[in-house]
């Protein structure tokens, strides 16, 4: 009896070890496959690129060192450049701030309309959800480029494009926040005859506002980057200044260096500020 039991225990152990080995082999295979796909992908991207990877790697630091050298050579001019490009930087920040503000306000309405228990028209919940998905899916550059054609260059096309995307992206996050909100205050308000707007404004918003603000701040960080990059493809702000500055060519990179510095400092400062405020919001909750 004991021998049999021992034997079967051994068999179980062997089976188990075989299972473990097979699992390890599979996960090893997946890793190898993944690395192979990645390597093949980089190979393909390399072959489609104008310059090769290895030749490019050797002159990777040419441009940055050129920038730094010229910035050091013309240190005296740097504060002047920084001062000159400050309005463009402020424009970029303004684009981000306004589009976050407008996008967030739209997102609040959209998210309330697409949350069960809060929606004004419960039947339209799927419609508003799909609308938000659609708004999220459209890359900002598409809207920005089309609007630049209609409205001309400048900050407004970028602002509309980013606000549109922000409304969709924040709407989704906000509706997740709404789902965790307590519905009792809303019921209480409706029992005293409050309208939908009153119920939302007095019952729902106070509960979720800290989370809203936290997400909106995070979105603001993202939008500053987005508005800088959209400037480069034709909208206003620091991006368009950068485009002009780097096309000047060798010997005049000091302006480009100043813009790089300004952009870097701004992004770091905004990241720090926003994470400080977000921590504060999370702690006071």
């Amino acid at each position: 009896m004991t021998g049999l039991a021992l034997g079967s225990a051994d068999g179980t152990k062997l089976d188990y070890l075989a299972l473990v080995r097979r699992r390890q082999a599979y996960s090893g295979l997946i890793v190898v496959l993944f690395v192979a796909i990645l390597a093949a992908g980089f190979g393909l991207a390399d072959s489609r690129n104008a310059g090769g990877f290895w030749s490019g790697l050797s002159n990777l630091f040419d441009f940055p060192s050129e920038l730094v050298r010229e910035a050091i050579e013309k240190t005296a001019a740097l504060p002047g450049h920084l001062w000159r490009f400050l309005p463009a930087m402020i424009e970029t920040i303004n684009i981000a701030a306004v589009s976050t503000l407008i996008g967030a306000m739209l997102a609040i309405v959209l998210s309330l309309l697409s949350t069960r228990g809060m929606a004004r028209w419960p039947r339209l919940i799927p419609f508003f959800r799909r609308a938000m998905d659609g708004m999220r899916a459209i890359p900002e550059i598409v809207i920005a480029l089309v609007l630049i054609f209609v409205l001309g260059g400048g900050p407004v096309p970028a602002m509309i494009a980013i606000a549109f995307h922000t409304a969709g992206a924040l709407g989704k996050l906000f509706s997740e926040v709404n789902e965790n909100a307590d519905l009792k205050p809303l019921e209480g308000l409706s029992s005293v005859g409050a309208s939908w707007i009153q119920r939302m404004w007095l019952g729902a918003i106070p509960q979720v506002l800290p989370n809203y603000l936290s997400y909106a701040l995070l979105r603001f960080e993202i939008n500053v980057r987005a508005s800088a990059i959209l400037g480069f493809v034709g909208a206003g702000g620091i991006g368009s200044e950068l485009r002009v500055a780097i096309s000047w060519g060798l010997g005049r990179y000091d302006a480009a260096a100043a813009i790089f510095l300004l952009l870097f400092l701004t992004i770091v400062a905004i990241d720090q500020l926003s994470s400080h405020f977000r921590n504060h919001l999370v702690r006071t909750r």
Binding site: L44, A45, N49, D62, V150, I229, V233, F264, I267, D271
Partner: protein
């Protein structure tokens, strides 16, 4: 409850004071509730001035918007007579690739000796006669435009020039709902507009052009080969794929390139970020200096931002998908490093201790004690960024010159083929939505529904 108790404790004499305090609190809240919207409105007003919204109304080209919307769902056929060559051509969108062969002209364009007669809607007729261009508009009369070495002469029935004609000595443009005629000294060109996306499937030189779906299906099934070297279905596929007007093959390749940039950038960043995150996490790297250094690297990578990385890398590697991939990779290494190291600092230490008690070494402890704990975080973040980077790669592609972003910017900047722009936008949306669905599906498989 608590407030009732406290009033009891304090005694009734303090009720008035408490009431005052509550009233003050309410007043402050009310002031706050009004101040915030007021601040928002004030800021929006400032921005409206800073962005020159009032000037925007003048700068906005609503006619451009009209052209855009009309052109998105329509195409135009150019009938052009070039006086220098003395030849008339009929071409879709005026492109060489869309030019009708001489025996292929559509029914509404006819040759009458040396003249070309174009019949438009509303029975309007445009004649490119050897001596003049004539536009017959029912209910209005004949326009006669004579091209001369010295200039262009326009004769209208009543001698007046209506507002739909723009005439000077070098150019006459007649804009009618049925078509648009432009006459200069050397050429006369008529645009006629049609709905739809012409040549979307097959170009004029393809034997499958102009066939209905039923005809195409029967051609695909029948054994009679249009091109002897391959079956009809393969020939259709190749004619569609190599369509010179819409370039489906190139567009599909561009979409693939965009997804490739996002995939390589995101996955590469994750590969680099995992070991770096260990170096930046306090519970794995006791050395302060090391931790500080790695964290500053993350901050630097994130702070420099995709735009700057893209520009710097494009200088070294030239335009193309590799540059875009590397730009995404560098930015996201910073982001992932920060996120992963935060996840590492929150791992449960008991599992690691358990492994240590069995005599596992550092590598084994990390492999079996730590990685399983942070794998869901890594997977869900990576998949989330994969979707978001697909959108980002569209913009980066526009800067570095690769993928659908490049096609999109080129098509928009040439400002003529809005139907192609629409096509690209639709494909971009399908691409992003598909990536969103795939990453959402994978996330729910790997991590489980939140």
């Amino acid at each position: 409850m608590a407030s009732v108790e406290s009033t009891d404790l304090i005694g009734s004499t303090d009720v008035a004071g408490l009431k005052g305090e509550v009233a003050r609190l309410f007043l402050r809240r009310r002031a706050f509730a009004f101040a915030v919207p007021a601040l928002i409105v004030a800021y929006l007003a400032y921005v409206a001035i800073a962005f020159d919204l009032s000037g925007l109304a003048n700068r906005a080209r609503m006619d451009n918007a009209g052209i855009l919307i009309a052109d998105m769902v329509s195409y135009k056929v150019h009938v052009t007579r070039d006086n220098r060559v003395g030849r008339t051509t009929v071409a879709i969108e005026g492109e060489t690739k869309g030019t009708y062969g001489d025996g292929q002209w559509p029914g509404w364009v006819a040759r009458e000796g040396g003249a070309t007669v174009v019949t438009l809607d509303n029975d309007s007729i445009v004649r490119f006669d050897p001596d003049a261009v004539r536009f017959e508009i029912p209910g209005y009369g004949f326009l006669k435009i004579v091209q001369d070495r010295s200039g262009i002469m326009l004769d209208t029935p009543d001698g007046e020039i209506p507002d739909w004609i723009n005439a000077s000595s070098v150019r006459v443009t007649v804009t009618r709902p049925e078509g648009r005629l432009t006459v200069t000294k050397t050429r006369a060109e008529l645009f006629r507009y049609f709905g739809g996306w012409e040549l979307f499937f097959f170009t004029l030189d393809s034997p499958f052009y102009g066939k209905s779906w039923g005809e195409l299906a029967s051609m695909a099934l029948s054994g009679e080969r249009v091109r002897p070297e391959r079956s009809n279905l393969a020939a259709m596929g190749s004619d569609f794929w190599n369509n010179a007007m819409w370039r489906h093959g190139d567009v599909a390749w561009a979409i693939f390139e965009t997804v490739l940039m996002a995939f390589l950038g995101t996955m590469g960043a994750a590969l680099f970020a995992v070991p770096l995150a260990f170096a930046a996490a306090a519970n794995f790297t006791p050395t302060r200096v090391m931790r500080f250094g790695v964290r500053r690297i993350f901050d630097f990578l994130r702070g420099v931002d995709g735009l700057i990385w893209t520009i710097v890398l494009a200088r070294a590697f030239g335009p193309g998908p590799l540059t875009g991939s590397l730009a995404i990779l560098l930015t996201d290494t910073g982001t992932f490093g920060k996120l992963f190291s935060e996840a590492l600092e929150n791992v449960d230490n008991r599992q690691i201790e358990g492994l240590r008690s069995t005599g596992a070494n550092t590598l084994q402890r990390n492999r079996f004690g730590v990685i399983p704990q942070i794998a869901p975080v890594i997977a869900s973040q990576v998949l989330y960024y994969l979707e978001s980077n697909t959108r980002g790669a569209t913009i980066i592609g526009a800067i570095v010159g690769g993928g659908i972003g490049l096609l999109l910017t080129q098509a928009i900047q040439t400002q003529k083929d809005w139907e192609e722009v629409t096509y690209y936008i639709a494909l971009t949306l399908i691409m992003v939505t598909t990536m969103d669905m795939i990453s959402g599906w994978l996330r729910s498989k790997l991590v489980g529904k939140r």
